[in-house]
């Protein structure tokens, strides 16, 4: 290992501030896949709660697909969703929706515990389907969904939003290169102050407050953590073998059993662990993931990404032109998707941060895959494995036990 001379030390300290150098990344990155304007894919959204409404909004921005049907038994939610749509027709049941033969593809946007029953009729008909992640709330349902999707003749996506996010795709290249080099550890969090209650439908079969029900919910680790755990599966091409964790109720003393604050550790092969925290009692710093390597750390915050190089990491020529952001004592390279094109247009600084959210890119990728009859970036098997990890993490937190993670059933 090179021992820096006194001269080297002075010069790099002068350039690197507190010890980290910023590097600009100007790779060429193709535009995110999406359906062409003439594709006209007719989509039905099943479930008009918060997520269903988000799906309506994002597909509403696209030119190659349109939501032509919304299926929701709750009349109030259906009415609200149709007002937010672009001329979609409303249906109170899946049977009615399928009988109308209006759609080419279905987005399953019901609560997690209903995913299998909701998705089954579409998958058994060989239709294109988008399944949210986590796929299900039990290992058995997860494996069954993966089996049904395998037998399906349509394009089935597993809703892993990081895999189609252009900044995350860009960062993966660096994470797997000498830019980051050896993984030291990983960390992620999801903090958002909320009650996690839902003003859903009440009565038999109603889904009001399902996230707080231990029989129907896989808690913060399952509902939120699954997406973020998968990032590290994808970046490292490996799955954790065990998980341990704990949880507590720090704020919502309203008689609930479900923890409002959790922390867990996922043990990956080779010893690089992932630390995860989630809370609905505080919003500070929101949602992000960090991969620490021996040459650099990468921080990803869904619409933005940065690389923080170590002072002794090799310097590359393009670093001189880096777009950088200062974070207290650290200076990070901004990871800009489509940077080459933006630079040619003189809009490089405008490119910091994605114009659309991760759900948009994930749906667009799935719809683009339908048009081109190819595989989506977010496959169901990867989503199933991620779901099993999330379910295991939830079990570790609620039992206090170190849980072995088994994804062989997928």
């Amino acid at each position: 290992m090179h021992e820096p001379t006194e001269f080297d030390r002075r010069s790099f300290m002068a350039q690197a501030g507190a010890g980290l150098a910023a590097v600009t990344l100007l790779p060429s990155l193709g535009l995110a896949r999406q359906p062409s304007a003439g594709a006209d894919i007719r989509v039905g959204v099943v479930g008009a709660g918060t997520h269903g409404r988000d799906v309506l909004r994002e597909i509403g921005r696209m030119e190659g697909a349109r939501v032509v049907a919304v299926c929701e038994p709750d009349e109030r939610r259906l009415r609200s969703a149709l007002r937010r749509g672009r001329g979609a027709e409303g249906f109170a049941s899946i049977e009615d929706l399928l009988a109308a033969d209006l759609i080419d593809a279905a987005v399953i946007a019901t609560p997690t515990y209903k995913h299998l029953d909701t998705a089954r009729p579409f998958l058994e008909r060989g239709m294109h389907a988008y399944l949210e992640t986590p796929l299900a709330h039990t290992p058995a349902d997860t494996i069954e969904l993966a089996r049904l999707a395998r037998g399906d003749r349509g394009v089935v996506a597993g809703g892993l939003q990081t895999r189609s996010n252009p900044v995350y795709q860009l960062a993966r290249g660096f994470a797997r290169s000498d830019s980051v080099r050896d993984v030291v550890s990983m960390r992620a969090q999801h903090h958002r102050k909320t009650t996690w209650r839902s003003a859903g439908s009440r009565g038999p079969g109603g889904d009001a407050n399902w996230k707080l029900d231990p029989a129907r919910s896989i808690g913060l680790a399952g509902e939120w953590g699954t997406q973020q755990f998968d990032l590290f599966h994808w970046y490292t091409d490996s799955l954790p073998t065990h998980v341990r964790g704990h949880g507590s109720i720090r704020m919502h003393q309203d008689g609930r059993e479900m923890h409002d604050t959790i922390a867990c550790t996922l043990e990956f092969p080779g010893g690089a662990d992932m630390q995860y925290s989630a809370t609905i009692a505080n919003s500070y710093e929101g949602r992000y993931e960090v991969l620490y390597g021996t040459n650099a750390a990468i921080k990803l915050a869904w619409s933005h990404g940065w690389m923080f190089k170590e002072a002794d990491a090799p310097t590359q020529g393009w670093e001189v032109y880096a777009n950088r952001q200062q974070f207290h004592n650290d200076e990070g390279i901004t990871l800009i998707a489509g940077a080459t094109q933006l630079a040619e247009q003189g809009k490089l600084k405008d490119g910091v941060g994605l114009p659309y959210n991760s759900l948009y890119y994930n749906l667009a990728d799935w719809l683009g895959a339908i048009e081109s009859a190819t595989e989506p970036a977010s496959g169901v098997e990867a989503a199933a494995r991620a779901t099993l990890v999330g379910i295991a993490a939830h079990r570790a937190i609620t039992t206090g036990e170190r849980v072995e993670i088994d994804t062989t059933g997928v």
Binding site: R57, R61, G85, R86, T195, A199, A208, N209
Partner: protein, 277 residues
């Protein structure tokens, strides 16, 4: 915060929730509801989600939003897909531009004729380059109307909601008061008013941050309104109308308001104090 903006006193045991959106703070206070008390927080949160939804719909600063795309494509043939709520808003804005003689104008340049809306295809575009849409004077009102509609649909019978306190909607009466009481008590610019199933909009030129000029633009001249111009406060059935009319009156204090719109006087001394501060 300008002293001519409404101050709200929140009584008793109610559910209060807040969220940042549209560059301000939205707050929902639920005083009574058909649903169990344990569900009020969820109802408030679902309602505040709509403020974020409207932010995503109307922001002109974030690439990818419908308004940003419409503005970016001004003068081209490319129409931007918009949803049903946007179609409703554009239609309402056209009505209000006409009713206010152009003093309220989301194009801020007397260019509403450049806006082409196709309600069948559900698209919108600006036919001329250099024209842009800015919903700063109406966006919060539109969001508040949508939020109030949602609260009512969820069984809320008493609530107060505001977006940065320049727009307030009251549903029913304040908790603890008789059902036939005349609503929630709100103080605006030293003037106490009662609101029941109606909205209050306040536009205060003195609140601008540019030296000598306010944040308001006169669509007729394209110039900023003087901070010396008097504030305007109105009560309407809908927050969008209250928002638009208060802006219009701040731009043109001589405008006559129609039936159904109630203008209230805000004390000049307070707005003068704000200018001198």
């Amino acid at each position: 915060m300008s002293e001519s903006r409404p101050a709200v006193v929140i009584p008793g045991s109610v559910c209060v929730a807040a969220r940042s959106a549209m560059r301000t703070r939205f707050e929902v206070v639920i005083g009574a509801c058909d649903a169990p008390r344990a569900d009020w927080d969820a109802i408030a949160e679902e309602t505040l989600d709509l403020a974020e939804d409207w932010h995503a719909r109307l922001t002109r600063f974030e690439p990818g939003s419908p308004v940003w795309l419409i503005n970016e494509r001004a003068g081209s043939d490319a129409a931007t897909p918009v949803d049903g709520l946007m179609i409703e808003l554009l239609s309402s804005c056209a009505r209000l531009v006409h009713a206010t003689g152009g003093a309220f104008d989301p194009t801020r340049a007397g260019a509403m004729d450049a806006l082409e809306v196709d309600a069948d295809a559900m698209t919108a575009r600006l036919k001329r380059p250099g024209v842009s849409l800015d919903f700063g004077a109406a966006g919060k009102g539109a969001a508040l109307d949508d939020m109030a509609r949602t609260l009512r649909s969820l069984g809320v019978t008493s609530a107060l909601l505001h977006g940065g306190t320049s727009g307030v909607i009251a549903i029913g009466s304040a908790p603890g008061e008789p059902e036939d009481a005349d609503g929630w008590g709100v103080c605006a610019g030293g003037r106490a008013v009662r609101l029941r199933d109606e909205a209050l909009g306040v536009s205060a030129p003195a609140a601008g941050d540019a030296a000598g000029t306010s944040h308001l633009i006169d669509p007729a001249t394209g110039k900023r309104v003087s901070r010396a111009a008097p504030p305007a406060a109105l009560i309407c059935e809908r927050a969008l109308d209250a928002d638009a009319w208060s802006t219009a009156l701040a731009v043109d204090p001589g405008l006559l308001v129609p039936a159904g719109v109630c203008q209230i006087e805000i004390e000049q001394s307070l707005s003068q104090a704000a200018r001198e501060a």
